[in-house]
Assembly symmetry: C2
Homo-oligomer: 359 residues x 2
């Protein structure tokens, strides 16, 4: 077996320790005589698995008791609809446009109410987080929506807007659990699992109790937060195995020191890569320094053929999935929690080698 | 390791051969250096996995080329909404009420149009499939909806209604792949994976091309069949690992002779159990003989305490999850494709033993 360093933007690397546990428990979970995939979701075993996953996530993120944690399906995309369908009571919301995912969220929300795009970095191809002027925020908006980390462009919010009484809603798919955040500053946080938590197929929603209300009855039952909250994410059969995998990742994070510890490691990993980029004569980062992501690091040589050569040769060295998103070009290294420091060091070592040969 | 015979109604038993492959490939799929869970859904590897899964399903079910196969999220519950949101063009559909799942489907459909419940077996607590009189079918309905197998009650449609030009829509969650069916008789088939195909978290939709049309634009993008069909189930990140597991189950089915062979085995398993029930002085089946399911076999002793004793003692012998659904009581043995004949024989042997001791 020859494991690679996988820089995929998502689905992405999982901790090897976690995969080994999943492997070893595949045919018989804790003496149950069955795989987690074979368990009734109403069994005492699965109940233990989902309750432990939730408790560990609450502990890791220090989630206040007036927030519910939901394990749902449909990924962030389904949340782009569920957020307005559940939260747009007065029919008005503020959105910040920081890339493809914000735009999709805006487009879905426009089906259900008035969307005020209060700032956008589209003119600079999303290479920064736009300045936010509180004077432009709508009064009495139902919520204020941001994407805390932008996977494609490699930007992140380093400080949160002060939205007063307007609930802050955040798509945190690509940086949840990567740095310490104050959950109490948010009304609702959602995140697809497949970057920092587990396999694709489960999306986690952290929602403040007062935002869980009746919807218009025409909203599909499966898209109502209240239904899922009242049923402990068991209104229908949940994606049990994906939740189990998330739980194993949460245990792994706890064992290795929790979020404050992984944040230090993430800062270290990002610094290794950004420091190299800032001093390279061949490679350069594409994002304004103040807004750089800790998770996704896009970079270019400025020469498309050289970019392609780099991606190809890196893959031959076991550094895979470094091709950038088509809307940015060049390369992108996604260095989520599960990417070890050694992986980033191996990448930078290869970049140095490549630079020496090709500059 | 001590594997049990798991009679759970779903999630349920998977073939041990399949679980062993998943275990062995957990850290490195086919030399890729990564788990299927870690692969980009846009990678050549995952593309190979999803295309092979679809091709194998098409071969197994002999799906005509004018049908699309979609791998979606949200289970059968999400389909209860997607079917009317996409197919109710004229605003009228016929439903047959054969249990809890039909009722939920009816309730969702009523949000979007006129539902004509043309027959119901509710008065007999769903112990049969009601007679259908074609004279009661609506003219010009958008579709005609049935649940081909009723997991809770243990009934199934042994012959399909002739709905003429009205597309027949079927929830086949608990009997897909268990017997040979003629897909061309249906407009749309859907099935949650967690009974006969794989882990919970993926639902398969087989839809005839002419039923894939534009919806009302207010329908959430994620609930539009057309979007998923146009994007080959990759509009958003699909539940990759669950699709991979389904693919392994499809391979296993092909290797062991396909649907006609598994149907024979299923008939054999069901006959062993029903023959015993028909001759038992203690146990009896709860369903009208003509409508008996091959997959779910509810039975009772008529004495609640004895039922509970049976379930407990069976579990001690490694025959687990035999407790019936609360709405039927007693016991239920779900004997899906992955339940070997030996499992059913072991169950009947224990039932004989229990009967001798308790009658």
């Amino acid at each position: 077996m020859n494991r690679v360093y996988n820089f995929s933007a998502g689905p992405s690397m999982l901790p090897e320790e976690v995969l080994k546990i999943a492997r070893d428990e595949m045919l018989d979970w804790h003496g149950s005589g069955m795989s987690v995939m074979e368990m009734s979701h109403r069994s005492k075993w699965f109940e233990e698995i989902i309750k432990k996953a939730e408790a560990d996530l609450r502990e890791l993120m220090n989630i206040p008791s007036n927030y519910k944690v939901l394990f749902l399906q449909g990924g962030a995309h389904m949340q782009f609809s569920m957020v307005p369908l559940n939260l747009m009571k007065k029919g008005k919301a503020d959105y910040v446009n920081t890339g493809v995912w914000s735009k999709k969220a805006i487009s879905e929300a426009r089906k259900y109410g008035k969307v005020n795009v209060i700032a956008s970095s589209e003119e600079s191809n999303f290479t920064c987080i736009p300045e936010l002027d509180p004077k432009t925020f709508s009064r009495n908006a139902d919520y204020f929506y941001i994407t805390t980390n932008n996977t494609i462009y490699g930007t992140r919010f380093t400080k949160l807007p002060d939205t007063g009484n307007v609930p802050l809603v955040a798509d945190m798919s690509s940086n949840i659990l990567s740095e310490v955040i104050d959950v109490s500053k948010f009304g609702l946080i959602f995140a697809g699992a497949q970057k920092n938590m587990g396999p694709a197929g489960v999306v986690i929603v952290i929602i403040r109790d007062d935002l869980i209300t009746d919807t218009n009855p025409e909203v599909p039952t499966m898209l109502q937060y209240k239904i899922h909250a009242e049923n402990g994410s068991m209104y229908n059969t949940p994606p049990c195995f994906s939740i189990y995998m998330c739980g194993l990742v949460f245990e792994w994070l706890k064992k290795h020191g929790g979020i404050s510890r992984i944040q230090k490691i993430n800062e270290e990993k990002a610094a290794i890569l950004y420091d190299f980029l800032d001093n390279s004569e061949l490679f350069k980062g594409t994002v304004e320094k103040k807004d750089r992501s800790l998770m996704n690091v896009p970079f270019v040589t400025g020469d498309k053929e050289l970019d392609a050569k780099f991606v190809k040769e890196a893959a031959e060295k076991g550094l895979v999935n470094l091709k950038g998103h088509r809307s940015v070009g060049g390369m992108r290294a996604s260095i989520y929690n599960a990417m070890p420091v050694e992986g980033v060091k191996a990448l930078v070592a290869f970049m140095k080698e490549f630079e020496a040969e090709n500059k």
